[in-house]
C-alpha cells in the first residue's frame, strides 16, 4: 500500500509507528514536500493479516517498529504447555549460562518450543538443571 499527497503529487513517507493497542497499530505518514501528516489506524483483522506474513511494519530494524505480536507465533500455546508442565513439576528448570547462550542459536521463532522440550527431556532424564552435558547427550541420543 502506498499513500500519495494529492496536492503535491508526492509519495507520503512512513514517519512513525506506534505499538499495538488492543490489536490496532497506528502508522503516521507525512508528505516530504508540504509536511502534511495523517495516521492510518488498522483494525485487528488487518493487523492479523499483515502479521501472518511474519513481518513488522516499517521493518525489523526500525526502532519505532510496531510489533504486531511476539516473534514466536505459538507463544500463547507454548505458555499453556509450560503451565501444564509446571503443574506436573516438569519446568522451572535452571539453565547454566553456557546452555542458555547455546539456546540463543535457535531462532526466536521456535526458541520457546525448544526450551520447553529441552526442559522436559532434562526432567525425564533425571537432571536438575539444563547444562551443556544434557544438551550434548540429547544431541547424541537423537543422532544430531
Amino acid at each position: 500500500m502506498k499513500f500519495l499527497c494529492v496536492p503535491c503529487d508526492t509519495r507520503m513517507e512512513l514517519a512513525q509507528t506506534r505499538p499495538p493497542d488492543r490489536g490496532s497499530i497506528s502508522l503516521v505518514y507525512s508528505c516530504p514536500d508540504c509536511g502534511y501528516e495523517f495516521a492510518m489506524l488498522t483494525n485487528p483483522m488487518e493487523t492479523q493479516v499483515v502479521g501472518s506474513l511474519g513481518v513488522e511494519i516499517g521493518g525489523e530494524s526500525s526502532g519505532q517498529a510496531a510489533k504486531q505480536e511476539s516473534k514466536c507465533p505459538f507463544s500463547g500455546m507454548v505458555q499453556e504447555m509450560s503451565a501444564a508442565s509446571e503443574v506436573a513439576g516438569r519446568t522451572g528448570f535452571p539453565w547454566t549460562e553456557t546452555a542458555r547462550r547455546r539456546l540463543e542459536t535457535v531462532p526466536d521463532f521456535v526458541r520457546p518450543m525448544a526450551k520447553t522440550g529441552i526442559e522436559k527431556y532434562a526432567k525425564d532424564e533425571g537432571y536438575t538443571e539444563v547444562n551443556d552435558e544434557i544438551l550434548d547427550a540429547a544431541r547424541r541420543f537423537f543422532g544430531m
Binding site: M45, G58, P73, M77, F109
Partner: protein
C-alpha cells in the same frame, strides 16, 4: 496524479522487502539440498506419511543423504513414525539441529514439540477470524522452520504434504518449480478421483510430477504369504501419469511404524520390496533429469 506504479518503493512499510528476505533466507538455508521431492495426495488417509518415511529410509539405504520435512503442521506424524516424538528442538551451531532416526534419516516435525491431543494454535489478536489469515500464517511458519533448521548437505529433502488438492498446489507455488511431486493414491475410485484433482491442480504449475504410487494395493497376509485385494479395483478413474509402483498394505509393518519402530528389513515382505522398487524409480527419474 501519479498512479501506484509511478511510485517507487512500498510506502515505507518494508513488507515486500521482508517477505523477499524471508525467501532468500530459506533459499540460502536449502542451498545444500540437491533434490526436493514433495509427497502429496490431496486425499487424507492414503498412507502418505508412512510411505514417505519408508521411501526416505529406502533412499537412505541406497547411499543418499535424506531428510523429511513434515509440512503437515496441523497433523504432524513424522516424529511419531520415526520414533522421534521425544526429540526436542535442540540448538546447533547456528540454528536448529537436525534430528535423525535410527536409519540416519533427518526428520523435522512439529509432532516432536506439539503433544498429541493438542491442536496447533497460532497467536491471534482477534479470535474468530482465522479463516482470513491462517493459511498465510502456516506458510510463514513453514518458511521459518525451513529457514531455521541446519539441513547441511542432503541429496534428498522429502516434503510430507498435508491433505487437500489446494494445499498441494499451494506447496508447489511455495516450494518453487524445482520441487518434483509424487502423488499417493489407494486403488479405490474415491481416492483416485481426489488424486486426479490434485494432479489437475499441479498441472497449473510448472512443477514436475514424477508419477503416482498406488498404496494399499492389496494387503499382505503373513499366514498365507500372499497379497489379497483390499479395495475394489476401480480403474474407471484414469490417472494420466505414470504409476511408480504398487505397495501392498502390511498390517505388521503398519503396526511397527505406528510404534515408531524400524521395519524388519530382513523379513521377506512384498511391501518393503515394492517400496524399494518405488525408491529406485524415483532416484532414477530425479537423478536422470538433473
Amino acid at each position: 496524479m501519479k498512479s501506484y506504479h509511478d511510485i517507487a518503493g512500498d510506502g515505507g512499510s518494508r513488507v515486500v522487502e521482508q517477505v523477499e528476505a524471508q525467501r532468500a533466507r530459506i533459499d540460502q538455508n536449502l542451498a545444500g539440498v540437491r533434490h526436493r521431492v514433495a509427497i502429496g495426495s490431496g486425499k487424507g488417509g492414503v498412507g502418505k506419511s508412512t510411505l514417505t518415511l519408508l521411501l526416505a529410509r529406502s533412499v537412505a539405504r541406497r547411499g543418499r543423504r535424506v531428510a523429511i520435512f513434515d509440512a503437515d503442521l496441523n497433523g504432524p506424524s513424522q516424529a511419531r513414525l520415526a520414533g522421534l516424538s521425544a526429540a526436542p528442538l535442540l540448538p546447533g551451531r547456528r540454528g536448529v539441529a537436525l534430528a535423525r532416526d535410527r536409519d540416519g534419516v533427518g526428520v523435522v516435525s512439529l509432532g516432536s514439540v506439539v503433544p498429541e491431543g493438542r491442536a496447533l494454535d497460532f497467536d491471534s489478536v482477534e479470535k474468530g477470524s482465522s479463516y482470513l489469515w491462517r493459511a498465510t500464517r502456516e506458510f510463514t511458519a513453514v518458511g521459518e522452520l525451513l529457514g531455521s533448521v541446519e539441513w547441511g548437505r542432503l541429496d534428498y529433502l522429502l516434503f510430507d504434504l498435508p491433505p487437500g488438492a489446494e494445499r498441494t498446489q499451494q506447496f508447489a507455488d511455495y516450494l518453487g518449480p524445482e520441487t518434483a511431486f509424487v502423488l499417493v493414491s489407494t486403488p479405490a475410485g474415491l481416492s483416485r478421483a481426489v488424486v486426479s484433482r490434485s494432479l489437475a491442480a499441479l498441472e497449473t504449475t510448472s512443477n514436475p510430477v514424477l508419477g503416482y504410487v498406488e498404496n494399499m494395493s492389496g494387503y499382505y497376509c503373513a499366514d498365507c504369504r500372499a497379497v489379497k485385494p483390499l479395495f475394489p479395483q476401480d480403474r474407471q478413474v484414469e490417472l494420466s501419469l505414470p504409476c511408480l509402483g504398487r505397495v501392498p498394505f502390511d498390517p505388521s509393518l503398519a503396526a511397527a511404524c505406528d510404534r515408531g519402530e524400524a521395519a524388519d528389513e530382513e523379513a521377506d515382505r512384498p511391501t518393503l520390496a515394492a517400496v524399494h522398487a518405488v525408491a529406485d524409480r524415483i532416484i532414477r527419474e530425479v537423478e536422470a533429469d538433473r
